[in-house]
């Protein structure tokens, strides 16, 4: 049973398009994260948030932006998609109890 939801699961778009990847969690976690991952490879942190109206850039330079207007919602936007943005994008939230991350199933983005 998923407590963190990402949509869409798969997306193929043309270069230059604006897209928003959705992420919602029902656990009331304050801390949320976006990671980029190529198949079978390590995760790279691109954005994180410690609560409403708090957002920070991660270690990996990214042309995306995020917002956190509600605790449960942490969308990621690409203003102008490029083929180099082709990857899997994973959203996660962190438990304040055991510090474990719960990940969504990811959005597999292909920019053609």
């Amino acid at each position: 049973e998923a407590d963190i939801y990402q949509t869409p699961r798969y997306l193929v778009i043309g270069t230059g398009k604006k897209i928003t990847l959705e992420c919602s969690q029902t656990m009331g976690h304050d801390k949320m994260y976006w990671y980029q991952q190529d198949p079978g490879m390590e995760l790279h942190l691109i954005h994180y948030s410690y609560g409403v109206n708090s957002t920070e850039k991660g270690d990996l330079s990214s042309e995306s932006t995020v917002s956190r207007i509600r605790t449960e919602h942490f969308p990621l936007t690409l203003e102008s998609a490029r083929p180099s943005h082709t990857s899997q994008y994973l959203c996660a939230s962190r438990s304040p109890v055991n510090y474990g991350y719960t990940f969504g199933s990811g959005t597999r983005l292909t920019v053609v």
């Binding site: 079978g40 994973l90 474990g100 991350y101 990940f103």
Partner: protein, 112 residues
């Protein structure tokens, strides 16, 4: 330079064999976690270890945190095809600990 080095990067074994995966660093971590990721899905938390020398068992999986809290290992006994996946270690750096640092991952394939 990867803060958390995992080895081996790839491992292919026969069903029933035992294996150990390693996660090493020169830095000290306040806690360390192990995740398993199946293709097309997000990582799933397996265990969190917080005390140097700690050993935790999860059915056929045994996790150990090094005495100095710089390394960890995952041992699987009598591997099964269902154990196939990408195994990721992730740690909270001691003293900062604002977000997890992920290792590069070990891709395990268990052949029937």
């Amino acid at each position: 330079t990867q803060l958390l080095e995992q080895s081996p990067q790839f491992l292919s074994i026969q069903e029933g064999e035992n294996l150990t995966v390693y996660c090493n660093s020169s830095s000290v971590f306040s806690s360390l976690q192990w995740y398993r990721q199946e293709p097309g899905e997000g990582p799933v938390l397996l265990v969190t270890v917080v005390t140097g020398g700690e050993v935790k068992k999860l059915k056929r999986l045994t996790f150990q945190f090094g005495d100095a809290r710089k390394d960890s290992s995952l041992h699987i006994t009598a591997a099964q095809p269902g154990d196939t996946g990408l195994y990721l270690c992730a740690g909270l750096l001691s003293g900062s600990a604002r977000q997890l640092t992920f290792g590069s991952g070990t891709q395990l394939t268990v052949l029937p």
